[in-house]
């Protein structure tokens, strides 16, 4: 099964011309309004700096968008069914997710957060491996090197520095790798955000910092996070350009992020892109968003849905018809089915692995501790075998954990 929803292709935007990088200090400031190329009504909005990506590109990206929404829906369903512990959904933010992955080539790195599962899958990682973390078998389920996708970072903003390091190493070796590093609006308040942007600018490394401003950090609205004119206004403080983009406009995202990636690849250094979007669902399934925002607040964003407008646009141009829609839906279904099947299959966990990867070579101490656990489990197994009554199933073991 091919799990990469963009079919493992390289960057869609490779070589596509984007906005010209501005020069001069004032030019580091973002535009007054977020860049928009296709409005909520599905109409093209002209922008001097950013040409509209061509129809072929948009169509392919639209397919990823449809798949992305389906992945979010499927993951939410699996949490409800108890197959995953928790899922931070990007419902409503799929245009950001898809664009972040599609503007990158195979040689480029993506640094996602916990919420960026769709971006990770779009960049090519096997969905089942991605969901390992949320299923709870291990902290990370995929090899970051395989598709050049870092593990999904939980400690906020920390990954932005790793992105700078990866880019710096690539630059030192003269490689053309670009790194796209994602974070949320809340994460911009962390010291690591500041340090990452500054390091990237001082070392002039090819990193595109991509903020998904979805207006909330769990329950905390943007106004409690910053009183800056916009998050993109932070860029000038590091000497890099900042840009704002409609985060529900797939076309604008592909154009703006694509331009930033090209700029970085051409030696133009880092930039900061802020996408204005909205977290349509709760922070995770464990969160109760009614405590801090009203249904009305959320409702206002429904007409701005990223899929809706791109569909309207593509159908109007007859780039998308019923047949195409069906094909995309089928693709999305196939991915969802694979996820469902995979997550409904119980995975054996192996306690010996606990000690296996802490160091390249186990320390004496870990060898002893592994041995201790092995013996303990062997004793337990023997005891279980001896007593029919006390057979410990998995839930027992964890739930009480305390049976000897």
């Amino acid at each position: 099964m091919s799990t990469a929803i963009n079919g493992g292709r390289g960057s869609m935007m490779g070589g596509a011309s984007g906005g010209t990088p501005p020069a001069g200090a004032g030019a580091l400031l973002p535009s007054a309004e977020p860049v928009q190329l296709v409005g909520p009504d599905g109409q093209h909005v002209h922008d001097d700096r950013y040409p509209l990506p061509d129809g072929e590109q948009l169509l392919r990206a639209y397919g990823c968008l449809v798949a992305g929404r389906r992945i979010n829906d499927q993951a939410n369903a699996l949490v409800r069914q108890g197959r995953m512990a928790v899922y931070p959904s990007s419902h409503g933010q799929e245009a950001c997710q898809v664009a972040a992955a599609l503007v990158l080539g195979d040689e480029d790195w993506l640094f996602p957060t916990y919420r960026d599962t769709v971006a990770v899958i779009t960049k090519g990682v096997d969905p089942l491996q991605v969901l390992t973390l949320l299923r709870g078998d291990w902290h990370g389920g995929y090899d970051p090197h395989e598709h050049r996708v870092a593990t999904q970072a939980t400690p906020l903003a920390t990954q932005l520095l790793h992105a700078v390091g990866v880019a710096h190493a690539a630059k030192l070796r003269g490689e053309s790798t670009v790194v796209l590093a994602m974070c949320g609006d809340g994460a911009t308040s962390e010291g690591d955000f500041h340090e990452a942007l500054n390091f990237a600018a001082v070392f002039h490394v090819p990193v595109v910092f991509f903020i998904q401003n979805n207006e909330f950090a769990i329950s905390v609205p943007l106004k409690n996070q910053t009183v800056a004119p916009s998050l993109a206004h932070k860029a000038i403080g590091y000497g890099m350009p900042g840009e704002r983009v409609d985060g529900n406009d797939l076309a604008a995202l592909l154009a703006v992020l694509g331009a930033a990636v090209n700029r970085a690849r051409d030696g133009g250094g880092p930039s900061l892109i802020e996408a204005h979007t909205y977290r349509m669902q709760a922070h995770t399934n464990a969160d109760d968003a009614t405590r801090y925002r009203s249904a009305d607040d959320v409702e206002r964003w429904v007409p701005r849905d990223p899929i809706l407008r791109m569909r309207t646009y593509l159908r109007a141009l007859t780039l998308l018809g019923d047949v195409g829609e069906r094909a995309f839906a089928d693709e999305a279904d196939a991915i969802a089915t694979a996820i469902r099947k995979g997550l409904n299959t119980e995975v054996e966990v192996n306690p010996a692995e606990l000690f296996e990867y802490v160091y390249t070579e186990k320390t004496t101490q870990l060898r002893e501790q592994a041995q201790q656990l092995r013996e303990e489990l062997a004793r337990d197994a023997a005891a279980d075998a001896a007593s029919v009554d006390s057979a410990s199933d998995d839930v027992e073991h964890q739930g009480k954990g305390d049976q000897r």
Binding site: G82, A85, V86, P88, Y114, R115, L133, L134, R135, G136, D137, W138, H139, T154, P155, L156, G186, A187, S189, E190, G191, D192, A217, I218, S219, V220, N224, Q225, T226, H283, T284, N285, A286, D287, R291, Y292, V347, V349, P351, E353, L354, F355, V358, T363, Q365, L366, Q369, L373, E376, L377, D380, V395, H397, Q398, G399, K400, G401, D402, Q403, R404
Partner: protein, 358 residues
């Protein structure tokens, strides 16, 4: 990401109880006791402020601050920008200027960005200024594992704080102690790292919170900082424990009783200051001891307890003091954590290894 109390992971050991259902007799959860302690203190002392991430309207991801903003206003219980060093550093300044800040670090591992502020300022400012600047700050940290949490949400970080001179480090294990110790911590003139075992948040006891309030405010609650308690008396060996491991130690003692061994369980409550007297009195009586703690064992609070006990009770010891701790590995993912956590079985194994002659 962050898990909250509303719908905890399916595999939680302690399922949250429906808080709304009125109980037949007065009972309260650990979480509710903490919430009441905060509310009662804020009602009694206008200098007490509560802030952190999501502690305002949401009431905290564990709901420990539920209702405080509504009751005391946004100036007294409020959300901050998302930055832990910022929260801690601002608390230092507020404490310098007459306030009593209580801050919440959302999860144990998310206190690490504040480490420099904690170690270089919170812990050292009073000493640096020869007491001219006291810092009555309480750092509340939902801590440790056993809740099926994802990575970074289950660290047992007490050793970092306990090793740092100037900090007072507390870890309650019962609902009553949760209430009394949080109130005592806020009233304390020095900075306190207040460790709240996450897996105990939904544990319940028959207590009347209004009565606890009266007891505390009448000065009838005996001091708990620096005072361990014998949670279960026994004669054959001593289990020394604190926070999340106390219920496990008690369960082990109960199981041992069935096997004919009388095990004493000590709940330290206060890691710093350490109650040598209570601990050593017990071990001198029993002659055998096992320390139980969830953190990785190496250079840990458990190590310290072993070291102190053998230094002070050497000639009473019939066997080495043993430890049942987490392994020296990063906290495992949900499906593997039960292999990691100290369990009744593991404690009883350790007790068995205390070189019994009989």
């Amino acid at each position: 990401m962050t898990q909250t109390t509303e719908a905890p992971a399916a595999r939680l050991t302690h399922q949250p109880e429906a808080v709304a259902a009125p109980p037949a007799r007065a009972t309260a959860t650990f979480a509710k006791a903490l919430n009441a302690a905060l509310a009662d203190t804020m009602a009694a002392d206008p200098g007490v402020l509560m802030f952190g991430e999501d502690v305002g309207r949401l009431g905290g991801v564990f709901r420990i601050t539920d209702g405080l903003t509504a009751r005391f206003g946004e100036e007294r219980c409020f959300d901050t920008p998302l930055a832990e060093a910022g929260i801690m550093g601002m608390a230092v300044g507020m404490a310098m200027n007459g306030m009593k800040p209580v801050v919440e670090m959302q999860f144990d591992a998310f206190a690490y960005p504040a480490f420099e502020q904690i170690v270089s300022h919170v812990a050292k400012m009073p000493n640096r200024t020869k007491g001219a600047v006291r810092l009555p700050i309480v750092i509340r940290i939902p801590y440790a594992g056993g809740i099926g949490g994802v990575e970074h949400h289950c660290d047992s970080s007490e050793a970092y704080y306990a090793h740092t001179p100037g900090l007072t480090v507390l870890a309650p294990a019962t609902v009553r102690d949760a209430y009394f110790m949080l109130r005592e911590a806020i009233a304390f003139p020095d900075p306190v790292v207040f460790l709240e075992p996450k897996k105990l948040y939904w544990s319940k006891e028959e207590v009347d919170l209004a009565e606890l309030r009266r007891t505390f405010e009448d000065g009838q609650a005996p001091r708990r900082i620096g005072r361990a308690v014998v949670a279960r008396p026994g004669t054959d060996a001593t289990l020394i424990s604190y926070g999340p491991s106390v219920p496990t130690a008690l369960a082990a003692a109960a199981a041992a009783e069935e096997e004919g061994r009388s095990i004493e369980v000590i709940d330290l409550r206060s890691i710093v200051p350490f109650d040598d007297e209570t601990v050593c009195a017990s071990v001198r009586r029993t002659g055998r001891a096992v320390v139980v703690a969830e953190a990785p064992g190496f250079a840990s609070v458990a190590s310290e307890i072993v070291a102190r006990v053998q230094e002070r009770c050497f000639h009473s010891l019939a066997a080495p003091v043993l430890r049942v701790t987490g392994f020296d590995i990063p906290y495992p993912s949900p499906k593997l954590e039960h292999f990691y956590l100290p369990s009744v079985g593991r404690i009883l194994d350790a007790v068995d290894n205390l070189q019994w002659e009989d």
